[in-house]
Amino acid sequence: MNTNSHGHSLGQPLAIAGGIAALAVLPFLAGNAYLEHLLVLWMLYALLALSLNIVIGYLGELTFGHAAFVGVGAYTSAILSTQLGLPPLLGLPLAGLVAAGFGLVIGYAALRVVGPQFAILTLGFGAILFTITNHWVDLTRGPMGITDIPPMAIGPLAFDSARPTYYLVLALVLATAYLCHALVGSRTGRAFLAVRENAPLAASLGINVFHTKLMGFVAATAIAGIGGAIYAHYIRVITPDIMGVHNVAALIIVVIIGGRGTILGPILGALVYIGLLESLRVAGPLRMVIFAALLTGTVVFLPGGLISLWQRWRNAHKSENNLPATPTGLPSTEGGAK
């Protein structure tokens, strides 16, 4: 987001505080367990989408392997807690570490190529991880999946229902959103954007393009792994489907529909995705047809995602009041893989 640079020095923090307060009271307004469950799913997808957004939005590379890292994190924590009896709280950072380890190795190999080749290569890596998970029955129980995963717990506080889990994931979403915000403002984040906009130029300024991309990719996979672990301990059952093409497509749809390269975009996209997924449950396979049409429609007609509608409105509003509109010629943090 283009932060308070245009006379919003007081309005923006207030809006953010209001938004966080609204998110905090949401479970009390939900009223029933089903809606609370949907809120958890919303936050989980928001977390995963924020992590994918680092690669798609800030690095400007399209990855088709993100769901595999979610799966690696989920399986790591699930296996550690069911087979070794490790407390899920310890499994959480380990899931992030293991996913980051996979991200490092795969990123090291895949980031040598860019654009469509990188997209396809990550798809191939995702397929490898899926195949291994599906067939290494001794470790992962294959297509049967892992059941009876214990819920997450911090001391006496157990996250065994929707409401506490919602706050746990909300806290992680806010932390990740803040990290993304801080990142974009930092030297490293500016290097990300420079690499996205013009890699040869960034290299000529002394930015190590490969290392910059690898760093972003590993950070994204670590967050994806943590998100996957929370998912495993919340749903309590995981199957290799978590790594499947369907989930890859879902995460990409969330980021693109919401608005890549922004912080609110992926959160908004996750809300739209979960909301439509549930309200269209009766439609069966038609749901994915609708999502596919939405994806294509967004890419073609609204490249900035839903969040760009608000920015458009705000700019129009500003010019009405003779305030300077957000300049379009300056490098902005919005945009991403175009």
């Binding site: 399209l62 190999a109 040598r112 190529v113 654009g115 469509p116 080749q117 997209a119 396809i120 290569l121 798809l123 191939g124 890596f125 397929a127 490898i128 195949t131 291994i132 599906n134 067939h135 093409v245 497509a249 990409i252 693109i256 069966g284 396979p285 038609l286 749901r287 994915m288 047809v289 999502f291 596919a292 049409a293 994806l295 294509t296 890419v299 073609v300 490249p303 893989a337 175009k338």
Partner: protein, 292 residues
């Protein structure tokens, strides 16, 4: 090592590999000529198999006629997809095109599930149960047909690209679309028949492979993944690369499945491309822009 088993594995691998080559040739043509990474390519393979099935069962036509009709119909669908999505987006960023094709892939795969049902189907073929013995190697006639028809189709494509007027227009467009347009080549027409050719080849592959496996609406995912892997390994835009990489992937998968583990067969194939790409990041046959 038992030579009979080894020869059998190689033969199986070559047959599978030839099917990959057919899928990958279309993908690599569409990329090489039009600069489009078409995620929906596998769905045309799926449609090829299904249309062969429906033409065969609903109209009672024999297998060969059904396969030919399916290739023509799917080529037409490819042209329609090009007119509706890819042609209007031709000036857009490559990610817009890639994401739109992902949308198209989801649309066709899930639309197919709505129309055809999720239950697996079998494509009837008179060659599926007849066995052919070549020396010590035993193959069903259908699998021999996969290989033979693919070889004929690939030779035809090669001659078409190399010697026909339309093929020369394709190569000119691949080298430089603006330059080609300046010399009077109708780029829209090149887009149209490149898509027709690519989707027809994918459908032909689906129609040929259909009788050897079960078909269901999600096989397009599998097909596009194999196609991409072959294309990336061979080098994006390289037809020769697709041929070698496809056969290599088929044989390695077959040997890996036979001697190491059937379950990990696919993972072994993917691991191989990674090894190749660490050595040559742009594929085995990558050179400057153009169609090879």
């Amino acid at each position: 090592m038992d030579f009979t088993v080894f020869a059998q594995q190689i033969a199986n691998g070559l047959v599978n590999g030839m099917a990959y080559v057919l899928i990958a040739t279309g993908l690599t043509l569409v990329f090489g000529v039009l600069r489009i990474v078409n995620f929906a390519h596998g769905e045309f393979y799926m449609l090829g198999a299904y249309i062969t099935y429906f033409v065969g069962t609903l109209f009672g036509l024999d297998y060969i006629a059904a396969a030919a009709i399916s290739a023509v119909v799917v080529a037409g669908l490819g042209v329609a997809a090009n007119k509706l999505i890819f042609w209007p987006l031709r000036r857009d960023h490559e990610f817009t095109i890639l994401l739109s094709s992902l949308g198209l892939a989801l649309l066709i795969a899930n639309g197919g599930e709505l129309l055809f049902g999720a239950d697996p189907k079998y494509v009837e073929s008179p060659f599926a149960d007849e066995v052919l013995e070549i020396g010590t190697v035993t193959l069903t006639q259908q699998r021999v047909l996969v290989f033979a028809a693919a070889v004929v189709a690939l030779i035809a494509v090669y001659l078409f690209i190399r010697y026909s007027r339309f093929g020369k227009m394709m190569r000119a467009t691949a080298q430089n679309p603006d330059g080609a347009a300046l010399t009077g080549i109708n780029i829209g027409l090149v887009h149209t028949y490149t898509f027709a050719l690519a989707c027809g080849l994918a459908a032909l592959s689906g129609a040929l492979v259909g009788p050897t496996v079960m078909i269901f609406p999600t096989i397009g995912n599998w097909a596009v993944l194999k196609g991409f892997i072959v294309v990336i390994m061979g080098g994006l835009g390289s037809v020769t690369g697709a041929l070698f990489a496809g056969l290599l992937l088929g044989v390695i998968e077959s040997l890996g499945g036979g001697y190491i583990s059937l379950g990990f067969m696919e993972a072994i194939g993917y691991a191989m491309i990674i090894a190749v790409l660490l050595w040559r990041p742009n594929g085995l046959f990558s050179t400057a822009r153009g169609l090879r």
